[in-house]
Structure formats: C-alpha cells, structure tokens
C-alpha cells in the first residue's frame, strides 16, 4: 500500500465528529442510562426451551403474569422455542421458587418446559459486581496511562488515554442508544477493547517517535501523517483478521456470546479510528516535536 492519504487534513473534521458523537453518547448515558443485566441490577434470568414450538411469545408472557415476579421481560433467544426471561424478583429467597415457577409455566402454556440456564443475583452482589467492573475499567485505563508514560512522553500518554476514553464512552453510548444489555461479559469486552485500541495506538506512536527523531524539520502534523500511512497496511490487516475472528463468533458462536462479540466489533472499529484520528492529532495539539523527545534521556 503505497498510496498516501492525507489524514491530517481530516483531523479537525474528524475531531469535531468525535466530539459530537462523544457528546451524544454522554447525553444518552446520562439520561437514558445503560440497560443493565441481572449481573448488575440483581434479579433472575432464565433461559428456557419450550418443547411445543407453536407456543408464541405472548402466550409465554401471559403465563408469566405473576405480580410477585415484578417487572418481567421476555424475548426470543436464538432458535424457535428458546426464550430468555428476566424478572426483578430474586428467586433465591425461596429455594422451591424455581421448581414451582417451572410447574406453573408449563401448566399454563400446556407444554413441557426445560430451564436451561438460571441465574439469580442478589442486590448486594450485583452492586458489588458493578463496582468491580467500573474499578477494573478505570484501573485498566490507569495502567495503560502509566505504561505509555514510562515508554513515551506524557503527551503521548495523554493522547492515548483520550483515545481510550473516547472508545469506551462511545461503545457504551451505542449500547445505551440500542438498549443492549450490559453484563459481566460486556465489561470483559470493554477491557479487551481498551487493550486492543491501545495496541493500535502504540504501533502508530512508535512510528511517530521514530520519525520525529529521523526528520527534524517536518511539522508534527506531517510526521503523524507519514507515520499513519506507513503503518496503515498493518492497521488495516490486523483489524481485518481480528474482525474475521469476531464476526465468526458473532454469527456462529451462539446466543450467549452475541453481546460480547458485538461490543468487541464496535470496539475494534472505533479503536482503529481513534488511533488514527484521535490519538495522533493530540500530539500535534500539544506541539510534540523532536525537542520534546530529546529533552529527556529517552531511547
């Protein structure tokens, strides 16, 4: 790939778009919030398989019209006859509850029902899990910041962290807009996105640093341009292979991994974009030049 693309020309426009999307994401996160799953909200999740495939979702819904359950949410999950049910009640307050519910439902819809998965999380544990998830993400960001700060200059570190926060907020923002469920595996996905986006950013930063040392008279913007172009084929190829693997999980990996792989696909796309259009411009905004690098006894 020898074609030179003038990326820096689009830096400003891209940053405005980024800011806008970021703002929209924040507004959504703030006003609409995230659709937390049982892991973070507490309650009960059931994955069931109904033997009689003619049973419609509304039949199942009306069979679950039990005031005791609280807010009930039913949706089709994968194959026909497979459903995911969520309700507010913590099924573990009474040990026989699940067995009773199973009998009630199967009697009401007049078909055998198989409870394939039962997850109940108490209110205390769910708030702990949420806190742990947030701590993990913040800690991961902090650790990345620290690593880049050691390996590069603080301007690089700042650029990388702005890109990462950009990725995390927009990914979560999209989850909020689409009302997709956020559970433990989404936290895992977000952390992996952080790692992946960082990985991308580091490759470009490494090259920027190298080029800054090589050419002393060229402006930072142009250095960024050259570096992004030089690493572009790698960026594209790696994103492609990763996306190949992720789409394979998304399409074939079963219902449980859908949310996870969707978050990852979003993250890879946003992360790749941000390495080029968010992390790199930050360096020129901070006027990183050869002098910045040579000031210390770096490399």
């Amino acid at each position: 790939m020898n074609n030179k693309i003038n990326f820096s020309k689009y830096f400003k426009a891209a940053n405005i778009v980024s800011l806008l999307v970021l703002l929209i994401s924040i507004l959504f996160l703030f006003f609409k919030g995230l659709n937390y799953g049982v892991d973070f909200k507490g309650g009960t999740l059931l994955e069931i398989r109904i033997e009689n495939k003619n049973i419609q979702i509304q039949d199942l819904r009306s069979s679950l019209d039990i005031p005791e359950l609280g807010d009930v949410n039913v949706k089709q999950f994968g194959k026909e006859g497979d459903f995911l049910i969520k309700f507010e009640k913590n099924a573990n307050e009474n040990e026989k509850f699940i067995t009773d519910l199973k009998n009630t439902v199967s009697k009401k819809i007049n078909s055998a029902v198989n409870f394939r998965r039962v997850e109940t999380v108490g209110p205390k544990v769910s708030s702990e899990l949420l806190k742990q998830g947030v701590t993990a993400i913040i800690l991961a960001l902090g650790a990345m910041l620290f690593y880049i700060w050691i390996r590069f200059e603080w301007q690089f570190s700042l650029g990388a962290i702005i890109a990462l926060i950009h990725d995390v907020i927009i990914t979560l923002g999209i989850f909020s807009i689409l009302s997709f469920e956020v559970n433990l595996s989404i936290v895992a996905a977000v952390l992996t996105i952080v790692g992946y986006s960082m990985n991308d950013t580091v490759v470009i930063f490494d090259r920027i640093r190298e080029n800054l040392l090589k050419y002393s008279k060229i402006k930072t913007n142009e250095i960024a341009d050259i570096s992004v172009n030089e690493t572009l084929s790698r960026t594209v190829i790696t994103s492609l292979t990763t996306l190949l693997a992720l789409f394979s999980i998304f399409i074939l990996g079963g219902e449980i991994l859908k949310g996870f792989s969707f978050a990852m696909i979003l993250g890879v796309l946003i992360g790749t974009y941000s390495s080029i259009f968010v992390a790199s411009p930050v360096l020129s905004y901070f006027k990183v030049t050869q002098k910045t690098l040579l000031k210390d006894d770096d490399i």
Binding site: E95, R117, E119, G122, M144, G253
Partner: protein, 515 residues
Amino acid sequence: MLSFTKFKVFSIYLILFFSVFFASLNLKNNNLIDKKVNLGLDLQGGSYILLEIDTKPLVSQKLQTKVIPIKKLLNKNKINFKNFTISSNNISLTIKAEKQKKFKNFFFQQQENTVNNFIPEYNKFELDLEFIKDKAFIKFSNFGLLSLNNAALKQSIEIIRRRIDDVGTKEPTILQRGDKRILVELPGIDNPERIKELLGKTAQLTFRLVSKDDGFGSEKLILSENNEELIVNKRVVISGDNLIDAQPQFDSQSNQPIVLFTLDRIGARKFGKITTENVGRRLAIVLDNSVISAPQIREAITGGTGTISGGFSFQESTDLALLLRSGALPAPINIVEERTVGPDLGKDSIDAGVFSLIVGFILVIIFMFIKYKIFGLVSNISLISNLFMMIGILTMLEATLTLPGIAGIILTVGMAVDSNVLIYERIKEELKTEKSIIHAFDTGYNKAKITVIDANVTTLIAAVILFIFGSGPVKGFAVTLGIGIVTTLFSAYFIARHLTSVIVLNDKHGKYFKL
C-alpha cells in the same frame, strides 16, 4: 536476528513438541498423565452458588450467653447494678461511678476471665466496655465479632461440605470467599433445587414441651403438617447437638417414612428424664422455628433412640436425616448469587464455540496466505503452533475453559497474526531501501521488536486486570487471552522467525520474495 544456534532451534521445537503432547492429552482418556483442560460450569453444566452467612442472630445469641457470667461477676465482687437490659447487640446496666473502675478491672482481667475471653490471635478482648455517665454498655469488640465470624464461617464450610458429600455429587468445590461468603461449585448437576434446600437450612433441631398456657416462657409455633398453632416452651429439652446419628426408615406399622435418631449419653439421660416426668404431654420437635411433629409421650423413652414422623415423603425423610447428621449451621445462610447451566445448553455452547473457532481460524489462515503467500504460510504454521501451545499450556495448568475463554482463543487467533504482520510490513519497508535481502529481514525483525512488545504488553495489562477483577466465566477469558499473548510472542519471534530464516537463507536469488 536471522541466525539461530543449533541448541536454540532444538529448544524451540522441543517446546513445540511438548505443547502438542500436552494438548493431545485432552483427546482421550490416558493413564499416562492425568492432566486435562477443565470445562467451566457454563460448558459442562452445573451450579455455581454463592452463600453468605448472616452472623447477626449469632451475635445476639452469644451475647445472651454472657448474661449469667456477667451477673455472677458483678455479684461476686459486690458491685451493685440496676437496669440490666439486653438488646440484639449490646447489654446495658447502671453502675455507680465509683464502682466503675473496679468493674473495668475485673472485666479486662487476662487470667481466669469467665466473662470476657482474651483472643491471643489479635491480642484483644472479645467484648468492649464503655461508660457513659453511670451507664455501662457491653458489646462485642470488632475483634470479637471477627473471631466469632471466622469461627462460624469455618464451621459452616465444614457442615456444608458434609451435607454435599452426603448427597453424593461428583467433584464439588467448596471455598471460602472473603470473610462472609462461601462459594459452592457443583459440576454436572441438573437439579440444584434439592441441594439449595439442603444448603439453605440452618437445621437447628430442638425438642421442647408443648404447654397449655401462653406465658412468658413460651412461644407460638406452627405445626407444619396441619398448620395447627401450638404453644411451645422456650426451654429446650435436648437439641440437635446431642444427636449422634439419624437415618431414614420406614415405620414398621404404618409403613410411613420416618427418621430414626440416636442420642449421645447426656442427651439420652435428659430425654429419659423428661419423658418419664411428662407422660401424657406432647413433645414438639422443632426444626428452624417450625414444628415438624408434636407427638404425645406415651411412655418413658430411656434407650437413647427415637423416631420422628411427620407425614414425610421418602425424599424428605432422607433429607431430614442428612441435615440432622451433618449438624446445624452456626448461623443462617442465604444464597446471594446462583448460576446454573443445564448440561444440554453447555453442550450447545461448546459446539457453537468450537465451530466458530474453527471457522474464524480458517478465515484468518486463508486471508494470510492470500496476502503474504509463502510468508503467509510461515505465519499460518506459527498460528497453528500458537493454538497448540495455548491448549498445551491450558492443559499443563489444568486451567478451566469457559465459553468466554473460547472467545478469548478466537480473539487471540485474530490478533496473533498482528505480530507477524507488523514484522512483514516492516521488512517490506526495509526492502525498499536495503539491497541485501538478508539484511532487510534482519533489521525488519529488529526494528519491529519494540513495537511488538509494546503492543502486546498493553493487551497483557488488560488481561491481568480482568483476571484479578473478573469472576467465573470472565476469568476464563482473561486466562486464555493472557496465555495467548505469551504464546503469540513466542511463535512470532521464535517459530515464525526461524522458518523465515530458513527460507531467506536458502533463497539467495529472491525467488520467493513476493511479500
């Protein structure tokens, strides 16, 4: 970077050989080395149950036992007191100011203290004493609470283990989590309801007389058989502590399932005495505040054995016997988190996971071959080696593979080629300026090294944090992601580099150089 000593080459392929060997251990049952990748509960089916002990009732119960010793201590030392009251977490009493110092001295006496135990572990007393004007407040100190909590937790784990072992599930895991929680993992179980019932019961068994008048020393309890309300004495005749055995049986006359229990010597004596003195009265058998049955005492029972009948099904009598045998939990236990996956869903998940792994793998391999031709082949060989090494290491560590863990492997496959891509793209650039092909490869590998390491360390950081904070299946993801990074570095910098060097050194004419 392209020269390899013979020893190095030998080591690389030895490591690879061992990885393949370990990975192959998963294929079938072998008696050679018993190591395998464990399947997580989400893949093989089973229950994950997190229990939390509630020590509040235990604290007030323990405080209750302090009442008599405290009064004794006060009387023995001629300290006058008034308004002795006990609440759920403290005891308060009024003592004149001039006597307070004296009381304090006795209260915190290290030797022969019958009231306030000294905990040598923490170098602290179990009870705290505080004076506000003429009022004295006694409550458990933080260390007292801690040692009470720890003892209760330890005992609970022991009893839970006994209960689970008695049911006969295979390979249960019972672990302490934090200072109040117990984690129970039951692989392969398809109906956790029965176990949950057994775990959740405190199983505090008491034998108490039924009385006629509803007075201070009695309470109203419900007979579970027919919802009859009974007035039962608070005074306990004998408790489950005196039981040495309990077995389910069938009653010889009615053929109903019953539980036969055997008492220890002290219990047998007490039981004999009470039954002799109270022939004709009813004796309530109380389990966790509900009366199982309240039979009339027809004659004195002195043999130290008895039966409990309460219209049980056989399963119920088996479970009751099991609970009585394993003993009562020191404090109530609540299930705070449960995740159960049925075996058929687990199998579906494995099938889907493995299928998507194979498809993702093939797609990446085809892509790399098209893009880099012979070097794509090199990269693919290193990718396959990478996969074997990952599975080999997982086997060696006997790690647990979960569904997100499989996703971690697929993701590694996608990301592993990154190292090779970085290197090849670098070499391509070098080839533009460098005349010597060998030299170009050498510098390419060298220059890309820092970037490759930087890039992988960042992902490793994410994996480590995920491992520390993640729970259950997510931890499995962190494990495969972390191992994947290490094997990726190895396969890119040793296996792929060696293969590349073989090609480059044997291809002086640049025949294959279509990077």
